[in-house]
């Protein structure tokens, strides 16, 4: 059965080709059908695959020989195991829902752009599947850059708007910076181990010196920071909200941005053997989580808030990875995929209803206009805030528990961040849905609940957001309730063997949960009655201004890198090139011309001087022959 794994990426690819090539011919329904259908099929196949992985049938499928030279041999191979099959489900599942959603959301687009959108989306799914399915780092890298490309294409989907194009470019370039790290890591593996296939790499990893492992893992992590928007490469993600909202939901919340987590989870053994890198991961993750959360507190663009919360949640996941809670991280990836996709789609519905109005200060009181959206959105908020028994609670607390075990400070900051999360999410919720409507009249007039194609995914995701966490109920509630841990055990057991995750006793764990939940509840209550009555409409000032301006990170990068680079390149072109090297080259020519002008004067046209010069020549030769040479 796992031989058929190649079908999983195949269908999205076909969908991409059909929609892409026939984009002028196909009608919108046809396009939508093909686009979503392709994903649906691969979802079904993924389910089948998942089932027999569950039955313990994992394996590697080698399609063909990609690159091989000398002893190095890089096949184009797929690996079907617990981790990948799990991700397959998430990607195709959430992916399908979002495709479905998009058919309605993108309906105003004219025919060929509609098709273009879906072909991009399919291409993205295809690359994402490659990323996840790859049996070696090179195939993963292929998908890795592929998803980067698709996000570039989709962010700049409305290419008439140059701001969007710049956002797209920024995203691609920042990803490339990360990719370079990834690439170097691959070369390191090739140079040291001579292979990039996971099985061989992990098998030979223990032979490597600690430093080498640290270097490799850090380089891989650089790649992860690029893809998963961690410090210092996170700034592209908020800008990426320029893309259509479903795209933000799919790529910039549910799937692509979690590639970094997948990569590290995949190579967990390497990290476990390199504690330095592990703590780096943890710290960076934590820092990102806090930073993004603080920024999110003061954002007024509905999508920006979600974007920063995504960055913050990703930080969480890296924290989890850093402290060795690999399962927890993956768990959080899944739950986050559910509720964050839900939130984005909800936001999309709002935006759709508000005619592309994104500023929450001009919304409010949408509760009565968009009931379904409101409910589902609320559920999403609760889930992300980590209120039991919603999904977010379980995954987040697993990470926090692990953080507590490894370092108390991690935990403290983590919990605070959780509190902030709850706060800004409900600030968002309250300002958007509660209170009274603050938009224009014809906006109010046109307000309406979205069509079924949009609401169905919302509902489904809401259900998942609520119940998704139950696959990982900690032992404190139900003995062996953590199905996910058992399922993923084969992937991480090597790491766990190496570093026995010391589990806290139940009391402490209850305490931890209690604290975080309590904090969350307080934050929620405070936010609700603060913002449902009188939301802060005026511009932030003082420290709030700094937050509203995202700690001026973009300005900082601009001044530090972009501007100097441009100036330097102008300098090279005008100074070094034109009046430097080229001047020298032409200088040779000028020199010849000049000496020619001078030498001519020797030819004075007077016999006397000619003879004189001849005599001088003779004398010189005599001296040369007789008196110099001895």
């Amino acid at each position: 059965m796992s031989q058929l794994v190649f079908l999983v990426p195949l269908f999205p690819l076909l969908g991409f080709l059909i929609n892409g090539l026939l984009r002028k011919q196909l009608s919108k329904p046809a396009t939508g059908f093909i686009g979503s259908g392709a994903i649906l099929i691969s979802f079904i196949i993924s389910v089948v695959l998942f089932l027999d992985v569950k039955a313990g049938k994992t394996g590697v499928v080698e399609l063909f020989d990609f690159i091989s030279f000398g002893k190095v041999h890089i096949p184009f191979a797929f690996l079907v195991d617990q981790l990948s099959s799990l991700f397959l489900l998430v990607i195709t599942g959430v992916g399908f829902l979002i495709h479905l959603y998009s058919t309605a959301y993108m309906h105003e687009e004219e025919n060929q752009h509609f098709a273009r959108y879906f072909s991009y989306l399919n291409l993205f799914i295809f690359s994402m599947l490659l990323l996840v399915l790859g049996a070696n780092y090179v195939v993963m890298f292929i998908g890795w850059e592929g998803v980067g490309l698709c996000s570039y294409l989709l962010i700049g989907f409305w290419f008439k708007n140059n701001a969007y194009n710049n956002a797209a470019k920024k995203a691609f370039v920042m990803n490339r910076i990360g990719d370079l790290g990834f690439l170097i890591a691959i070369f390191y593996l090739l140079a040291t181990i001579g292979s990039v296939t996971y099985s061989e790499v992990f098998a030979h990893a223990p032979e490597l010196s600690a430093t080498t492992l640290t270097i490799i893992t850090l380089l891989l992590f650089v790649g992860a920071t690029g893809k998963s928007a961690q410090i210092p490469l996170y700034t592209w993600l908020p800008d990426a909200m320029a893309g259509p909202t479903p795209v933000s939901a799919l790529i910039h919340a549910a799937t692509m941005v979690t590639a970094g987590i997948y990569m590290i989870a995949r190579s967990n053994i390497l990290y476990t053997m390199a504690p330095v890198s592990q703590s780096v991961v943890a710290i960076v993750g934590l820092a990102t989580a806090v930073l993004a959360a603080t920024i999110a507190l003061k954002q007024n663009d509905i999508k920006k808030v979600l974007a920063y919360s995504t960055v913050s949640q990703l930080g969480y996941m890296f924290l989890g990875l850093g402290v060795g809670a690999y399962t927890g991280a993956v768990f959080h990836v899944i739950t986050h995929a559910f509720f964050k996709a839900l939130l984005f789609l909800g936001a999309g519905a709002v935006i759709h209803a508000m005619h592309h109005e994104q500023d929450i200060r001009r919304m409010g009181g949408l509760k009565k206009y968009l009931p379904i959206t409101h409910i589902t959105f609320l559920l999403g908020c609760i889930a992300i805030a980590g209120i039991p028994p919603f999904s977010g609670f379980f995954s987040k607390d697993e990470i926090l528990a692990a953080a507590y075990e490894s370092n108390k400070i991690y935990w403290v900051i983590g919990v605070l961040t959780a509190g902030m999360t709850a706060f800004y999410m409900f600030r968002l919720y309250a300002t958007t849905f509660l209170g009274k409507f603050r938009g224009t009249h014809d906006q109010e007039h046109h307000l309406h609940e979205s069509p079924a194609a949009m609401t169905i995914p919302l509902v489904v995701l809401a259900v998942l957001a609520v119940a998704g966490g139950w696959i990982g109920i900690p032992d404190v509630f139900i003995k062996d309730g953590h199905w996910l841990e058992h399922f993923l055990h084969p992937i991480f057991e090597a790491s766990y063997k190496l570093k026995e995750a010391h589990v806290a006793d139940h009391n402490t764990e209850f305490m931890l949960m209690g604290v975080s939940v309590l904090l969350a509840v307080i934050a929620i209550v405070y936010a609700l009655n603060k913002f449902s009555k009188k939301p802060d409409l005026q511009e932030a000032d003082g420290f709030g201004k700094v937050l509203a301006n995202k700690w001026y990170a973009d300005e900082f990068y601009d001044a530090l890198i972009v501007k100097p680079l441009n100036r330097f390149s102008k300098f090279l072109d005008n100074v070094i090139e034109k009046s430097g090297i080229d001047w020298l080259v032409n200088g040779v020519g000028r020199g010849v011309q000049y000496s020619s002008r001078q030498l001519r004067l020797l030819q004075s046209g007077q016999v006397g001087s000619y003879v004189l010069l001849m005599i001088a020549g003779i004398i010189m030769l005599f001296v040369l022959q007789f008196f110099l040479k001895k």
């Binding site: 006397g608 004189l612 005599i615 004398i619 001296v623 007789f626 008196f627």
Partner: protein, 166 residues
């Protein structure tokens, strides 16, 4: 001091002196005349070296024919009046300097060659006599002798082509 030596020094002095005058004298006619004197002195040397034939030819051809030709030309252009064709001081000095340098260099190059031990046979030896020269000329040197006719032909043609009015 033997007579030959006296003669040698006298002729040498005469030759060099008149040669200098050729260069120095303003009036071209004087130069010609001094040149003739120089040629006579050189012919004297030939006789001293017992090369009578060359001495005679030198006087006939050079002092006689060629120099007269020069004189004719000068008269014909009546250049006898000195049209001061003088280079400026610098050029003349430079020329003089160059000439002297050349002389010094060559002397320096040749002075300690084996030639300084060699003697030149004067007032003896018969190779300079017409009989021997003629024999040699019409035996070994017949080819160049014939070929020099080509030279004369071309010179003649040339002189005519250039010289004759159109």
């Amino acid at each position: 001091m033997a007579i030959t030596q006296i003669l040698f020094w006298f002729l040498t002095a005469l030759a060099i002196g008149s040669a200098l005058m050729v260069v120095l004298s303003k009036n071209p006619v004087y130069s010609v005349l001094f040149l003739i004197v120089a040629f006579f002195a050189i012919s004297g040397h030939y006789i001293l070296l017992n090369a009578q034939f060359l001495a005679i030819v030198n006087i006939i051809v050079y002092a006689g024919a060629i120099m007269v030709l020069f004189l004719f030309v000068i008269m014909l252009m009546n250049l006898n009046a000195d049209l001061n064709l003088k280079n400026n001081k610098l050029v003349r000095f430079a020329g003089f300097l160059a000439g002297m340098c050349l002389f010094l260099v060559m002397v320096a190059a040749l002075k300690d060659a084996a030639t300084k031990k060699q003697l030149v046979q004067t007032t003896a030896g018969d190779i300079g006599l017409i009989k021997n020269l003629g024999l040699a000329l019409f035996n070994e040197y017949v080819v160049p002798f014939e070929i020099s006719s080509v030279l004369f032909l071309s010179a003649m043609v040339g002189a005519v082509v250039i010289g004759k009015k159109e």
